[in-house]
């Protein structure tokens, strides 16, 4: 059993986290925008779905920049992949049904709860909002339970 807290090293985690923060900070300093990631999944539906929920100003007015921001995420990962990771394609062994079903709950839950790991976790905690701290504690707890039960039952 590996008793280290960081069996794969810790530097890349800290560096990556600082860069993630720098991205959200840069967005704020330059444009004033708060850059959580989950809203793009609601705001983009406003292009296709006419229902009043999706046509709210908070989605329609931000859908353009949110898509650009998401495109930036892909671009940043591409730069890392080609320039720093030798272009070895990333892959995952997590089964398709888990990605799809898990993803569904991620999307439904993040939008119902108005935030995800970046919205509540980074932007919410970064602006010292206690409801976000409670949200983070809540999703950490259910994620911890689910991941451990899944490891036991599905492996």
């Amino acid at each position: 059993m590996n008793l280290s807290l960081f069996p794969l090293g810790w530097q890349h985690y800290l560096l990556g986290g600082l860069l993630v923060g720098a991205g959200a900070a840069l967005l704020f300093v330059l444009t004033g925008r708060i850059g959580g990631m989950s809203t793009v999944f609601s705001s983009s539906w406003s292009y296709l779905v006419r229902r009043p929920f999706f046509q709210q100003a908070r989605f329609v007015d931000s859908r353009g920049w949110r898509l650009v921001y998401a495109l930036g995420l892909v671009l940043g990962a591409l730069v890392w992949w080609l320039g720093f990771a030798g272009g070895v394609r990333e892959a995952t062994a997590v089964p398709v049904w888990q990605l799809l079903v898990g993803g569904f709950f991620v999307g439904y839950g993040a939008r119902l709860g108005n935030g995800c790991t970046s919205g509540h976790g980074i932007c919410g905690l970064g602006s010292l909002q206690w409801p976000s701290a409670l949200a983070v504690l809540t999703f950490m707890a259910t994620a911890f339970l689910t991941a451990n039960l899944a490891a036991r039952w599905l492996a």
């Binding site: 860069l19 959200a24 300093v29 940043g76 839950g109």
Partner: protein, 140 residues
């Protein structure tokens, strides 16, 4: 939408900020579901460093920028996104965690992972988009 809101410099800044975000998610290996799941199974605490590092930088920016600058460098104003604690937030966060614990993918890495050629994450992306759609259709 105002033209100032969609100006080219602001769009490029948003793209660059997103790229930095995505680069950070990649270098920290958060785009690997296995790494996220190993955190949730308490085998590797790296995710705490990622989140801690990100929160620290964002905290400084959110605190300092509005004090040092009258407005964002490329126009508009400093936005705030107040979060509230209610039944929806609690239930939403709980459901989000269940999904996250099942797949090890959250919205940022689902998007960024595509840039590193992890096509399997399209399944997660489809799931997230579908979940967001159903949430919106059920909402009043």
């Amino acid at each position: 939408m105002t033209t100032a809101n969609m100006s080219l410099p602001r769009s490029l800044a948003t793209l660059a900020a997103g790229a930095l975000f995505g680069f950070g998610l990649s270098i920290s290996t958060m785009i690997r579901p296995e790494v996220v799941l190993s955190f949730l199974r308490l085998q590797d605490f790296g995710l705490m460093l990622v989140m801690g590092g990100a929160v620290l930088v964002v905290l400084l920016a959110y605190k300092l920028a509005p004090r040092l600058l009258a407005r964002p460098l490329l126009g508009d104003h400093f936005h705030a996104h107040p979060s509230v604690w209610n039944r929806d937030t609690a239930l939403g966060a709980a459901l989000f965690g269940i999904g996250w614990g099942l797949c090890g993918v959250c919205p940022g890495p689902a998007i960024a992972g595509l840039g590193a050629g992890n096509w399997s994450l399209l399944w997660a992306l489809a799931g997230i988009a579908l979940g967001a759609l159903v949430q919106g259709l059920r909402a009043k």
